[in-house]
């Protein structure tokens, strides 16, 4: 950003969040960031190394995408924080003039590297390039993210897998709270970049609440719900989301990290989540899968060879306006064309879904929308128990 505050609230100078409509716990809000103003709930595609795979920034604008994610671990390595700083930040470097969000770098380290361990100091890891031992501290994560210059940056937290049990879960939660203070101190651009705290605590309601309370005391511009969408059961998944959204302040955005699938987006919006991110739509596109209202469509299947309808007759994206399922079936397997076209459609699908969610919250038609959506996704009354239970809690019966 250029240093002009978007918000007069001194605790959140670079982010304004105004709820404009609600239906029970679901809400529509106007989110103002240094580079973009948009309506939540939003889905944010993942642009790992400064690009959403196979899409140009103009295509992302056409699809109406307000915010994309960058991965600090990857960008911190290539092209590196110094170069990004010299180039004027990631926005300028990739010529993307809307919102950017960066994660802390910690999660990738733990999941990608052979040796990574978390100590009080930070994440100690073995550099995959020369084998030397390195350390990512909360301060360093802030420094790198300040160089990248994203509108939203994530605190370095102690992530544990959602299937982990035992004292480490509490230890990680406590550490996350100690690290948030180090993150706040280490963050040098609070007027231009928003530091979000991340709620940890595994699958333990008490731990989650304690973490929440600790983060809320720091009065951050926004909060993320972390440590989910791993291997936990869907039952625990929604209950932890529920605990978090119930207790996070209503006047700040809530970001559920790593989610996801269409059904998850709808149920979690009903529970009060505002922001989502996931690699799924772009990744599955590269395998020939299109996202549709009934779920997925595997275009490699021979049943589509003579199917001359678009992927989704209600989708107005470039791909659905121009191409048939037969065409998309015919281009499978050779070169990138299929991946490009399906990535375009799948991200458009996610954007359209979020738009429908917002419109239906505003018009108070949300429960009908959700019921109809679930009927399409789960024909023959096969709606999973966790979906029915979570929607029940949100005030919608399916």
């Amino acid at each position: 950003g250029d240093g002009n505050c978007v918000n007069s609230d001194p605790s959140s100078p670079a982010l304004k969040f105004e709820v404009t409509a609600t239906w029970n716990r679901a809400r529509v809000a106007t989110l103002t960031l240094p580079h973009v103003q948009c309506q939540t709930p939003i889905f944010m595609p993942v642009g790992t190394q400064g690009t959403v795979k196979g899409l140009t920034s103009q295509q992302l604008e056409e699809i109406d995408c307000p915010v994309i994610l960058g991965n600090t671990y990857h960008l911190g390595h290539r092209p590196g924080p110094e170069l990004l700083k010299d180039m004027g930040g990631l926005h300028k470097f990739m010529n993307w003039n809307r919102g950017l969000l960066t994660d802390s770098g910690g999660f990738q380290m733990v999941s990608l590297l052979k040796f990574a361990e978390i100590t009080e100091e930070g994440v100690r890891f073995q550099s995959p390039h020369d084998g030397s031992m390195m350390m990512l501290t909360p301060e360093e994560s802030m420094q790198i993210q300040n160089c990248i210059g994203a509108d939203i940056m994530m605190a370095l937290d102690h992530v544990v897998s959602s299937t982990t049990t035992g004292p480490i879960v509490e230890e990680a939660m406590e550490r996350t709270l100690r690290w948030i203070d180090r993150c706040i101190s280490g963050h040098s651009r609070p007027k231009e970049q928003n530091l979000f705290g991340i709620v940890q605590g595994g699958l333990d309601v008490d731990l989650r609440k304690r973490c929440l309370d600790g983060l809320i005391k720091r009065n951050l511009p926004g909060y993320a719900i972390g440590g989910l969408s791993g291997g936990e059961s869907k039952d625990m998944f929604w209950r932890m989301v529920d605990v978090s959204t119930q207790h996070l302040p209503a006047n700040k955005p809530r970001y559920l990290m790593g989610v996801g699938y269409a059904v998850d987006l709808v149920t979690c919006t009903a529970l009060g989540v505002d922001m989502f991110d996931c690699v799924y739509p772009s990744r599955t596109a590269r395998f020939g899968t299109a996202l549709v209202p009934t779920g997925t469509m595997q275009l490699k299947n021979s049943e589509y060879a003579s199917d001359y309808r678009p992927i989704d007759p209600h989708c107005h994206c470039m791909v659905c306006r121009k191409y048939t399922r037969a065409y998309l079936h015919a281009i499978q397997g050779k070169e990138h064309l299929s991946g490009q076209l399906l990535t375009y459609h799948n991200i458009a699908y996610q954007m359209n879904l979020m738009r429908s969610i917002r419109e239906n919250i505003i018009s108070q038609n949300f429960p009908n929308f959700v019921q109809s959506f679930m009927k399409d996704q789960f024909p023959d009354a096969t709606i999973p128990l966790w979906v029915r239970e979570s929607l029940e809690v949100a005030g919608i019966s399916c």
Binding site: T56, M318, Y323, T324, H336
Partner: protein, 379 residues
């Protein structure tokens, strides 16, 4: 389908012309971008829309040979199936690969999506009936420069036999009425044996075909061999029909072929340049005299270069992105760099062809060509 020579160059056999098809006009000399189902590599339809000098596209029979039933079911030809209004020219093979198969008298072998596929004259005409292309290369037997003479003569004979059989089948199936010209392009074979090439050309031009493809070139022959073959063949061909060569893409080689009377080109030159991380920057007009031929985006020298590939290039990539960003994308193996670089390289290369046509219409082609060759020899 009609071809008209608009202007002939005084100093050479170069000419500019108009190839009118049911789906539009191709201004020659023209470079037909190779495409998969109507999309050039990395250029989705929205990206292709930015180009106003892509008059037609090449498609390969090998890419659709397993989808004929699917295309037939829609009953709108290949144009309807891929939703394009552009003229489409079908070659038999994908220009980016040359695979030698053993010679058969009955069928031509192609590499389809799932392995080898045999195409007989009957199969070709059947495909033509379903696809309804604007132009289609006939099946032929390739004979690159290293093939010995007995094989070379055989390739010519089989190629002519297949051509006649295809033309006969077209008439039989009502694809071509009496006196009407087929959409097939005869392929002139004969390796580097000039007698064979002359024979192939003489007999081919007696048939009522849409045009001629000079086959088996761009396969490692030296420039003298190529020049002699093209001269020998063009000596026999009528001026009133277009001539095509596949597999030739380097600007200097293209210019040489144009001077010898070639009208259409298709190759994977742009793809290869892009794959290696090069941005084409060769100076096309005299006002761009001091640019390099190409820029290596992998080089560390551009790591912090916050300027576009070419300051006056109107392509999407030069309008929006810097060499530093492209270098980063290349360095991190990101798909986007192939797309962005393809956009620029295609833009630059198609501009090169636009300027060729302009120069020819202005009667200044040979002079411009000499200056161009001089400029790039200094880069």
């Amino acid at each position: 389908m009609a071809f008209e020579v608009i202007q002939k160059d005084d100093a050479s056999r170069a000419r500019c012309g108009r190839l009118t098809t049911k789906h539009g006009v191709i201004e020659t000399p023209h470079y037909l971008l190779p495409s998969l189902m109507g999309s050039p590599n990395n250029l989705t339809p929205d990206l292709l829309r930015a180009f106003n000098n892509v008059d037609g596209l090449q498609m390969a029979l090998q890419d659709v040979v397993l989808d004929l039933e699917s295309i037939q079911g829609l009953d709108k030809g290949v144009h309807g199936f891929i939703d394009t209004e552009r003229p489409l020219l079908f070659t038999i093979r994908d220009p980016s690969e040359f695979i030698e198969y053993s010679v058969s008298e009955e069928t031509c072998t192609v590499a389809s999506k799932s392995g080898r596929y045999k195409v007989s004259p009957k199969d070709l005409v059947h495909a033509e009936q379903i696809l309804r292309p604007d132009l289609m290369e006939c099946i032929s037997v390739e004979a690159p420069h290293y093939i010995v003479s007995k094989r070379v003569r055989k390739s010519v004979d089989i190629t002519l036999k297949w051509l006649d059989e295809c033309l006969r089948l077209e008439k039989e199936h009502g694809l071509v009425a009496d006196g009407e010209t087929s959409k097939l392009m005869a392929v002139i074979q004969g390796g580097t044996d000039l007698k064979c090439r002359k024979f192939s050309a003489q007999l081919s031009q007696q048939r009522n075909v849409a045009g001629f493809v000079l086959g088996s070139l761009g396969l490692g022959e030296n420039s003298d061999q190529r020049r002699d073959v093209i001269k020998t063949v063009v000596d026999e061909l009528p001026e009133s029909k277009p001539r095509m060569i596949g597999g030739i893409g380097g600007p200097d080689e293209v210019l040489e072929c144009i001077s010898q009377g070639i009208d259409l080109f298709s190759s994977n030159y742009i793809d290869v340049v892009t794959e290696w991380g090069y941005a084409l920057t060769f100076p096309i007009t005299s006002s761009q005299s001091d640019g390099p031929y190409k820029i290596n985006l992998q080089s560390k020298t551009v790591m912090r270069d916050a300027t576009p590939i070419l300051p006056d290039c109107q392509c999407y990539t030069c309008g929006r992105h810097t060499k530093a960003y492209l270098h980063h994308l290349f360095n991190t193996h990101e798909m986007l760099v192939s797309i962005l670089l393809t956009i620029h390289n295609t833009w630059h290369y198609m501009k090169f062809f636009s300027v060729i046509r302009e120069q020819m219409r202005d009667g200044t082609f040979e002079k411009w060509k000499q200056e161009f060759l001089q400029r790039i020899s200094q880069t």
